[in-house]
Amino acid sequence: MSENTNTLIPGFDLDSLRLPQNFGEALGVKRLITRVPVRKPLKTEFFRVHAGETWRFQTMILELKEEGETFLLAPPVWDVVPELLRPAMLHTAIDRRNNVFLIPVPLPGPDGRRNPWHQSLAEVVAEAENKWVRSVANKHVGGYDMLVAEKDLPEPEWPDMTFQELVQIAFRERLIQSADHPVVTQLLGRS
């Protein structure tokens, strides 16, 4: 495809006159992630999950379904509203537009039993470590149907950030560190 362009227009060394067109490279502009949703995958999106221990985190979460919000609780407040908390594994996921989100997958209870929906979600998440998948709730079977992209799609472009940084962004305004937190006081009927 290449050709000595200097044969064009005698008297001019066009190669030496050509200016670079690598716009933006020197400016070092990068996409800053300012929001990391914590949610289940949408039934309309294909997603992947980051494999590896360092990209998941077992913790206690508090889900306010009416508000559609998920809170992360620090260990000192785990005993304050134990009936509303649930142990969950937070997984790092990404959609096809490279938007990162965290999927909370509830863990088995103290008796070792697990809700079949949660079990099904865990299986979807495990599969998404290697394939682009989409999950759709199927009430008839009490779990998620898993749709796997048949085509060899390109790997996701994970952001240049650590899991800790992503978690900090995700729970920046939803971290409960003490029993005085307004959400806790409301749940306890103290405010």
């Binding site: 290449s2 362009t5 006159l17 050509r18 200016l19 067109q21 933006g24 490279e25 400016l27 096809r96």
Partner: protein, 582 residues
């Protein structure tokens, strides 16, 4: 960088001239010349009879000297008219000024007076300048007092150059200025060549136009039913669109958008609308009398190089045969024994975007010869053995998507184009982003450069400053448009140097002319030069071209204007001049 040293001198030059026989479209008749050497102040003042006796300029024009002018094609056209060899080194301060201020405000315009005002330099009053210009354009004979006045006026422009050059020195892109000057020389030659016009048909059109308008409206409107007499009725057009299931853009108030640019875009998507658009244009804007055709039947007008922000030429829409009324291009007809070829780069914008961004998938798609189908294959929407015949509908959608990206369209506009739900359009645009990730990264970089760095530039030095109200879509498209213009300029310089007769540059194409016996070889040479020009701009990546050849006595026609042309010829009773299947 400072000005290089020229041992043969730096010559500031201006001509006064008028078109032969006072007719626009004719070559120039030089009236006088004033030239001044910068270092010595030596000044030459020559009247037209003295110029006619010379076989070359009365100052050095070889590699040792620099020729300086403001809008140099004017001076070069006088060189050509006088049969003088053109200068080796041309510095056009108009180009330098446009380059230095492109995107910035120039309160007094881009002419010589505007440049002087921009740099805070004194100038001749504009009304005084107009008066002297009119005296020149009036044509001779001029008495001795008038001759002196014209020479003094000519010298005043040279003195203006003497003030402007030192003021602009630091703003000139010296390494590339001489290359840009070469283009000014090529433009002069192209303007001198002109486009051959069928003057008999033009005369019949001028005579008969008023008389056929009603019949023409009736003939065109038979397919649409949107006119009431000579009035275009919006409600009827709305009914036509609904009956033909055509989604049409609307204004914010919900009214159908009937701007010509909208009609132009929609006619591209729905070619059956072309005659209606042509008719609307012909009735509202066309001024046949303004078309500049010389005594020899050739359309010549100022190409207005570097006038647009992208650096492209911007000739007058009414004077230039390649103006917006595409059906009028049927007037282009080679002289007996000659042929014409319209040679344009294939999918130029796509190719430029691929090469400059370094997106290998995009480059592969371009090299396939059918980037639209290749995109559909790369996106996994069609099988690898698909052809444009077996998967026409899918190819059309992916083509529309590529064009939408080039025009900076959103999902809604694309949905209009492809007559599909917005969700489908969104999906296509997503596929483009995923398939050509490298391109999109680079495109984002273009925008960041413009917004943070304050300017964009091309491979050969044209530049655009970001103004106070940046348009992201235009900025992102600048590298494709402006480097396309660079490509065309390089090709024109080389082709003119090779003796190829270019009649006109047209956006991403050249119209060339050659004797029938040489036509095929000239077309092949032109395509070879255009390939090299693309490689020069794109660091070795070559773009291919298509050639549409017309041999006398055939006439040129743009397929978008064919129906309208044939209807007009019917109405004029000139049925033998119809084109295509008629």
């Amino acid at each position: 960088m400072t000005m290089p040293h020229y041992p043969g001198g730096v010559w500031l030059v201006d001509f006064e001239f008028h078109p032969a026989h006072g007719r626009e479209g004719n070559p120039p008749v030089p009236v006088c010349l004033v030239a001044r050497e910068v270092a010595s102040g030596r000044t030459l003042r020559l009247w037209q009879y003295e110029l006619a006796q010379l076989t070359a300029a009365p100052f050095p024009t070889d590699e040792t000297a620099l020729f300086v002018a403001y809008y140099a094609p004017a001076e070069m056209s006088c060189f050509i008219a006088l049969g003088w060899p053109v200068p080796a080194n041309v510095l056009d301060l108009f180009i330098a000024f446009r380059r230095h201020t492109n995107g910035k405000r120039t309160p007094a315009g881009n002419g010589l007076l505007g440049a002087l005002a921009y740099y805070g330099l004194d100038a001749l009053a504009a009304d005084e300048k107009d008066e002297m210009r009119n005296l020149v354009l009036r044509g001779g004979p001029w008495d001795a007092v008038e001759q002196r006045a014209i020479l003094d006026y000519c010298e005043s422009d040279v003195l203006a150059l003497a003030k402007l050059l030192p003021a602009m020195q630091g703003d000139i892109d010296w390494p590339r200025a001489s290359l840009q000057g070469r283009y000014a020389v090529a433009v002069a030659q192209i303007e001198a060549n002109g486009v051959p016009i069928d003057t008999d048909t033009l005369a019949a059109l001028k005579t008969g136009w008023q008389g056929i308008q009603h019949k023409l409206i009736a003939a065109v409107d038979a397919d649409y039913g949107v006119y009431d007499g000579i009035t275009f009725k919006l409600e009827r057009f709305e009914r036509y669109l609904a009956a033909n299931r055509i989604a049409w853009p609307r204004t914010p108030t919900g009214r159908l958008d009937t701007e010509d640019n909208t009609f132009k875009d929609m006619a591209r998507i729905h070619p059956q609308l072309s005659p209606l658009r042509e008719l609307r244009g012909a009735l509202s804007q066309m001024r046949l009398s303004a078309l500049a055709v010389g005594d020899d039947g050739r359309n010549r007008c100022m190409l207005s190089m570097y006038r647009s922000k992208t650096g492209r030429n911007q000739p007058s829409n009414t004077k230039f045969i390649f103006g917006p009324s595409v059906w009028l291009r049927g007037l282009i007809q080679p002289q007996p024994g000659y042929g014409l070829a319209y040679v344009d780069w294939s999918q130029q914008e796509f190719g430029i975007a691929a090469a400059l961004s370094g997106d290998t998938a995009m480059m592969t798609a371009y090299a396939s010869g059918d980037p639209y189908l290749a995109f559909a294959k790369q996106a996994g929407a069609v099988p690898h053995d698909a052809t444009k015949h077996s998967h026409k509908a899918a190819r059309d959608q992916f083509k529309a998507c590529v064009l939408a990206v080039q025009y900076g369209m959103g999902a809604e506009s694309l949905a209009y184009r492809i007559n599909q739900p917005v969700a489908r359009a969104r999906e296509l645009l997503d596929l483009h982003r995923r398939t050509y990730r490298r391109f999109w990264q680079w495109s984002d970089g273009v925008l960041h450069q413009a917004l943070l760095g304050g300017r964009l530039w091309t491979t050969y030095g044209w530049q655009l400053f970001t103004d106070d109200t940046p348009n992201g879509r235009s900025l992102c498209n600048f590298p494709m448009q402006a480097n396309g213009a660079e490509m065309l300029r390089l090709a024109c310089i080389q082709l003119i140097g090779d003796g190829v007769r270019i009649c006109a540059p047209v956006h991403d194409a050249v119209l060339i002319e050659a004797p029938l016996t040489e036509l095929d070889a000239v077309v092949a040479h032109t395509q070879s030069v255009m390939r090299k020009a693309s490689a020069a701009v794109l660091d070795g990546f070559m773009l291919e071209s298509d050639a549409k050849v017309v041999r006398a006595p055939e006439r040129y026609m743009d397929e978008r204007g064919e129906r309208m042309w044939n209807m007009v010829m019917d109405q004029l009773g000139l049925t033998t001049r119809k084109v295509g299947d008629g």
